[in-house]
């Protein structure tokens, strides 16, 4: 089988895909086949943690697509991530059925608690897996399209766009905190039991979710890599480097931007949908502006406009976060803040940029 040229020339991408293939197979094997006392055995906790990193990596790829290639610094991508998560969380809530604390066959516990008599209209259909799966793409995509279409058409760009994306996620966070919204308010959605009949707590389900995350990341990476290698991708870079010139050359800049922004939001939604069953909860805190900005810094550390760098940055920083918040909780924010400053001052092209420069000089 011959690889298409756009993939063949992407050496870093091939390495990434190879690594993903190795861990996609290797992690389940080490979890299932290695005996528990074997040094290479991976616990279900580790598998889930890795799966979480992969979801973050997919979010980072989505951010990199719009920031690195189109020059839009979105400080609200966590909103799309969280919306995807909520969509899938709603499906999981409906699957609880009579096993909830109040045993209501239709209403989730928090609605019974709030004395609601019937399901709000927007909860209908989420008992079907395929419907929820479609909504995971449609809801973030639709929001991104509407928001992007209006913003790009009126040529809101640069820091203004960053600020209103931040306002968007902030407004959504405030909205989801309200009990009246019907998404569980402060507590969010949790206590999930099973998906498609498989109990989520079982090791098998965790392995499946991990493999799905690996596949989603690989698929998301390939899709973005393909996208940026097409003519559309060239236009993206043109817009990033000189929006006015691209417009004068006859490209419908706002259409291109809205399209790619929507696609990126859908990727983020998928990442969120895979994230929720693995961590077992989704609450309005996921909309916090800090989360979006953290995703941006993953990309910045890895190297923007490289896609591979986004994955590297997301995994490295989240690994560091897990380790530091456990070992030295006081230091984590210092480290993250210092990282923001250092990377922007000293590493404008991130780790991947550093590697490329080494290669170029060698």
């Amino acid at each position: 089988m011959r690889l298409p040229p756009w993939l063949l020339s992407d050496r870093a991408g091939l390495v990434l895909l190879a690594i993903l293939a190795i861990i996609g197979v290797g992690v389940p094997v080490l979890n299932l086949l290695a005996p528990p006392d074997h040094p290479l055995h991976l616990t279900a906790y580790t598998v889930t943690l890795l799966g979480k990193y992969l979801c973050y990596a997919l979010l980072a790829v989505a951010v990199d697509l719009v920031w690195g290639y189109m020059g839009i610094l979105s400080l609200g991508h966590a909103a799309f991530f969280a919306l995807g998560g909520y969509c899938f969380g709603m499906y999981l809530m409906r699957q609880i059925g009579t096993r909830g604390v109040y045993g209501d066959p239709v209403l989730p516990d928090f609605m019974v608690f709030l004395n609601w008599q019937e399901l709000p209209w927007y909860w209908h259909g989420f008992d079907l897996f395929w419907f929820a799966a479609v909504m995971v793409l449609v809801v973030p995509g639709l929001l991104a399209f509407v928001f992007g279409w209006f913003a790009f058409r009126s040529r809101v760009s640069g820091v203004y766009l960053s600020i209103i994306t931040q306002a968007l996620t902030y407004a959504l966070m405030l909205a989801f905190f309200r009990n009246e919204m019907g998404f569980g308010g402060n507590n969010g959605l949790t206590d999930f039991k099973d998906a498609l009949g498989f109990p989520l707590q079982a090791d098998g389900a965790r392995i499946v979710l991990f493999v799905l995350s690996t596949l989603a990341l690989a698929g998301g990476y390939l899709a973005c890599r393909w996208l940026v290698s097409t003519r559309l991708g060239r236009v993206l870079v043109a817009i990033r480097d000189s929006e006015d010139r691209a417009r004068f050359l006859g490209y419908r800049v706002e259409k291109v931007k809205a399209l790619v922004f929507t696609f990126s939001a859908m990727l983020a939604g998928v990442a969120g949908a895979l994230y929720v069953p693995q961590v077992g909860i989704i609450n309005p805190g996921e909309f916090a502006p800090l989360n979006s900005i953290e995703a941006v810094i993953w990309v910045a550390v890895g190297g923007r406009g490289t896609l591979v760098g986004a994955v590297v940055g997301a995994v490295l920083i989240n690994y560091a976060k897990t380790w530091l918040t456990g070992a030295l909780p006081e230091v984590w924010l210092f480290a993250l803040g210092g990282l923001f400053v250092m990377v922007t001052l000293l590493l404008p092209y991130g780790l991947i940029g550093l590697l490329r420069r080494r290669e170029a000089t060698a």
Binding site: I163, A167, F334
Partner: protein, 538 residues
């Protein structure tokens, strides 16, 4: 029981005359004496005699009469055989403290058995009550007159109305006149004559006192006479209207108050972002530093003095940190706004964690000075003093900043660099120094805003975060680089928020305002008052 002898009365008269020579006013001394005389008769009189004596006492115009009559009514007026005087008992124990009825001088503790109570019956008591009311009305002290009318307002009666009418004819104090008029109109509402009722109702329209709204509402609902009923209804509608206006005024004040907070939070940003074009995500944390500075000054200084000291200190602390940020980070990133945004966000995380590590993650309570607590009446509107002070403070900060930018050399240089950096440099402006000072100015104002915020919200490591989105929205809404725009934007957003709140709830109001802003920026990306001309292109 020995009765009081004339010779003794003569002795007392002499004694008081002597006292008068040594300073007490002669009129007072003479009056004291006549009061004593009447009290002596009161003691021995039967109830009819007592009635007569009470009338005599009332006629005397002596400052102690009200106290004496009240004591008689409460059965606390005694005759003390030892000393042959009438005294007032304070308290109800077996041993009670007494004071001289006429002079009010404390006479120590005595056993109750050594005192003879001067009795009163219910007829006397109601007489006393009536006379006390008139006495209050006739008092030389306006406060007592006012209290007497207010007592009537709480508990109107026909007999009292006659007294009030008599007083109204001679009253000179305009405030009390007004109150008397009100009380009489209220009494007229209960009149048997329907025209009198209707007239009174019409006159009372628009008054917001609950004592008046109650009877008017009753009248509008159940008066037998249709004309009077209609008059009451119209009067009530006028009252409702005024109440509504007052409600609006209250909302407006709360809105302006919120707006002043927004302006304080945003105005420093208007300098760094608006004038310099630098996105400083650590702006909120500079406010937090200002708030913590306030807390620190309160550890050293009495609360009442801490704020005037905290304001310049907070300015200094925040300005120094701001200059450090500018020299250390931002100056390497000019022309790359998105990178600046990320780097300053990193700074904000570091500052937050630093405060958390140094001062603990818990909120610190900053005390409010006495001169800022409580409420004050602005016309019919009751407003909290701290919000009013902060509103004034906001205006002062705004005015100072405006003067600094328009009237000082630094301000001129700042504007020059903002408009055309290369040209300003060519003219000899040291642009690097101006950058640092401008950033320091904006940061210092953030610190000053923190002092104000410490009076309104909890002072904790997250103080700044909650304001950063809002303050950016204010600056962008007003138009970047336009201080007046920031002012207008802050006030209108504050008022809009408070107008929405009763209808939608606080959180939803905030969301709606945010959504409005997002839509507004789509429509007018350059804000309410965009910069025009060449400066806009830079």
């Amino acid at each position: 029981m020995p009765s009081r002898t004339p010779s003794r009365a003569g002795f007392f008269a002499l004694a008081f005359a002597l006292l008068a020579l040594f300073g007490a006013s002669p009129a007072r001394a003479a009056d004291d004496d006549s009061v004593r005389t009447i009290l002596a008769q009161l003691r021995d009189a039967d109830f009819d005699g007592k009635t007569e004596m009470i009338e005599k006492l009332v006629a005397l115009d002596h400052p102690r009469i009200a106290t004496i009559l009240k004591a008689l009514s409460d059965s606390r007026l005694y005759y003390q055989e030892e000393g042959d005087r009438v005294v007032i008992g304070l308290g109800d124990a077996a041993d009670i403290a007494i004071e001289d009825a006429v002079s009010g001088a404390a006479l120590g503790q005595v056993g109750k058995r050594d005192l003879d109570r001067i009795t009163a019956n219910n007829r006397l008591r109601s007489l006393i009550e009536d006379r006390l009311a008139s006495l209050g009305l006739a008092s030389a002290d306006p406060r007592q007159r006012k209290a007497a009318v207010e007592a009537f307002l709480r508990n109107p009666d026909p007999a009292g109305a006659e007294r009030l009418r008599a007083r109204l004819a001679v009253e000179t104090d305009s405030g009390i006149k007004e109150l008397l008029w009100l009380a009489l109109a209220l009494a007229d509402l209960a009149s048997d004559d329907a025209t009198v009722r209707a007239k009174a109702a019409t006159a009372l329209g628009g008054r917001m006192e609950t004592e008046i709204r109650g009877p008017l509402a009753r009248m509008a609902a159940e008066d037998g006479d249709p004309a009077a009923k209609e008059a009451a209804r119209i009067a009530l509608a006028r009252t409702e209207f005024r109440l509504q206006m007052l409600g609006w005024a209250e909302t407006l004040f709360f809105g302006l108050s919120l707006g002043s907070v927004l302006i304080l939070a945003a105005i420093g940003l208007a300098v760094t972002f608006g004038v310099m074009g630098v996105i400083n995500m650590a702006h909120g944390e500079l406010m937090m530093l200002g708030a913590y500075t306030t807390w620190l000054t309160q550890q050293w200084l009495p609360v009442n003095w801490s704020l005037p000291v905290a304001v310049p200190l907070a300015f200094l602390v925040a300005a120094l940190v701001g200059i450090a940020i500018e020299r250390g980070i931002i100056r390497f990133l000019y022309g790359r706004p998105l990178e600046t945004l990320l780097a300053t966000f990193g700074v904000s995380l570091i500052l937050q964690q630093a405060v958390r590590s140094i001062f603990s993650p818990l909120n610190r309570s900053v005390a409010t000075p006495d001169w800022m607590s409580g409420t004050i009446l602005l016309g019919p509107l009751e407003v909290t003093l701290n919000r009013l002070v902060i509103l004034g403070f906001c205006i002062a900060v705004f005015a100072l900043l405006w003067l600094a930018l328009q009237r000082t050399r630094l301000g001129l240089e700042v504007r020059a660099v903002a408009q055309n950096r290369a040209m300003a440099r060519a003219m000899g402006v040291r642009s690097a120094r101006v950058d640092a000072l401008t950033f320091g100015l904006g940061s210092g104002i953030a610190g000053v805003a923190g002092v104000a915020l410490s009076q309104l919200t909890n002072v904790g490591p997250n103080l700044g975060q909650s304001y950063i989105v809002d303050s950016f929205m204010v600056v962008v809404f007003g138009g970047v680089g336009n201080l007046w725009g920031t002012m207008v934007a802050g006030l209108s957003l504050g008022v809009a928020n408070k107008l929405l709140e009763p209808w939608s709830g606080a959180v939803l109001a905030k969301i709606l305002v945010l959504v409005f802003l997002i839509l507004f920026i789509q429509k007018r990306p350059r804000g309410l008052f965009p910069q025009r001309g060449r400066a806009a292109e830079v």
